[in-house]
Symmetry: C2
Subunit: 239 residues, 2 copies
DNA sequence: TCAAAAGTGTTTTTTTTACACCCATGG
DNA sequence: CCATGGGTGTAAAAAAAACACTTTTGA
């Protein structure tokens, strides 16, 4: 059992599945390749891992380059390594899921990257196995968001409970009782009520809230159980 | 943005965190390296990914070589890619968690590998970042087993409810009410009652059960919620 | 003044938990 | 014949769900 015999070396990349929420529905950020091969085709944002960095570092770098944003929520999804996944050259890719406040991003220049937000269920064909990555990321998001408050990452700094409910409803494609929803969210003590209201979507106006970052960080793993029947949504998940 | 410029190529490996249950406590299978460098030190079972295979294929192959067993429960845990993780040469490693019936394994020859079962909370120092891998695997096991019936994978073909309860109690280091436990397990309809009893641990004897593979495969993702306070165990988890 | 959305209150239903009790049997 | 674990029954407590009702205010 000689381990350090001559071994094949291969290319090592990262790809980012970037989710955003525009107030209406869940979106996915894609770029149109401006270079050969496959110029013009849509793909996830990605790049190669450099000698001096970890995959996490590479994903952060790629995200920073694209959005100009630091401190984005990001987690490793899965590593894709089929020998046939990249038709150009054998490449292993670690996929990361990122959640960003779409508002913040809007201010940034995205022209250099030809990046476009697509509705999560209505995006163009993707290169290589990127569709598989996106599907898996969607599953995991739905799974995890039923247990942890991570969807808060998709909202702007201040937001209302009805807005948050709308986000959950769009992610789970289901309607929730507003009374029960609001109580459940507030019972986590993860939100702080602000003094002002959002008057855009109703005459009465809804109070703004912000994340209590301290409690959020300490209690991120708290179970929320927002979704009526977790069996349904867990049906195809891989965590 | 030239993507396919010259890129560094690196070594690509897999490591397996193999859990077993001997009826008393959770165990971890480790090997003592029989080759340089670090000869004599303990490590996870691992190997390099070959040109023609995926990381999953490589992990299965490694597992087959070590245990002689096919069809072992296995899932990708995380990819470790810090530039400094392997002190010999830069290597990226995909870690896999495997759950095996320790009885089945016992029949196999393990002499070639110098493989030894260690109590999960009392194992020797490990090479590289293998301790980190093990810790993460433990966390994920505890997290996932609270929601899915995967601990069944650790038991032999037939087992009793009290044996299963003992397994849960050892994984969560907590005591469960036997009545509630048995009802909760049985309510999943994942088990089939057999005609014979295990008379070893009591005079009355406890009925054997086996997994209803059909329902198990279809309902693996069913939420079980075995653990009294999920907050506690989720506290440090990364899923 | 009233429609529409925010937010509160209350009842019903379901699930979980605690714990008492019966069962079977080997020593 | 009784101690020991296996297994069932059931009431209390807690959580979740359903839904009625009150509040605010711009048009």
């Amino acid at each position: 059992m000689k381990r350090y015999s001559q071994q094949s070396r291969l290319l090592f990349a990262v790809d980012c599945i970037i989710f955003g929420f525009d107030g209406q529905e869940l979106k996915l950020l894609l770029i149109q390749r401006g270079f050969e091969p496959f110029k013009g085709q849509w793909s996830l944002v990605g790049g190669f891992v450099q000698e001096s960095e970890s995959a996490e570092d590479a994903a952060s770098r790629v995200l920073k380059d694209l959005t100009g944003l630091d401190g984005i929520y990001m987690e490793q999804l899965h590593t894709f390594s089929s020998p046939s996944r990249d038709t150009v050259e054998r490449t292993v890719s670690v996929a990361y899921t990122a959640l960003i406040d779409i508002q913040k991003y809007k201010q940034q220049l995205n022209e250099d990257f030809h990046a476009v937000w697509f509705p999560i269920n209505h995006h163009p064909e993707l290169i290589f196995d990127h569709k598989q990555m996106v599907d898996q990321a969607k599953e995991k998001l739905r799974y995890k968001a039923a247990l942890h408050p991570l969807l808060l990452e998709l909202l702007p700094g201040k937001f209302t409970i009805p807005q948050l409910q709308h986000l959950y409803e769009s992610v789970y494609n289901a309607a929730f009782d507003k009374g029960n929803f609001s109580r459940k969210i507030l019972s986590t003590k993860l939100l702080v009520k602000l003094a002002d209201k959002d008057k855009l979507s109703s005459k009465k106006g809804a109070f703004y809230y912000k994340i209590d970052r301290k409690k959020y960080n300490a209690n991120f793993h708290a179970f929320l159980n927002f979704v009526p029947d977790p069996h349904v949504l867990a049906a195809t998940n891989g965590v």
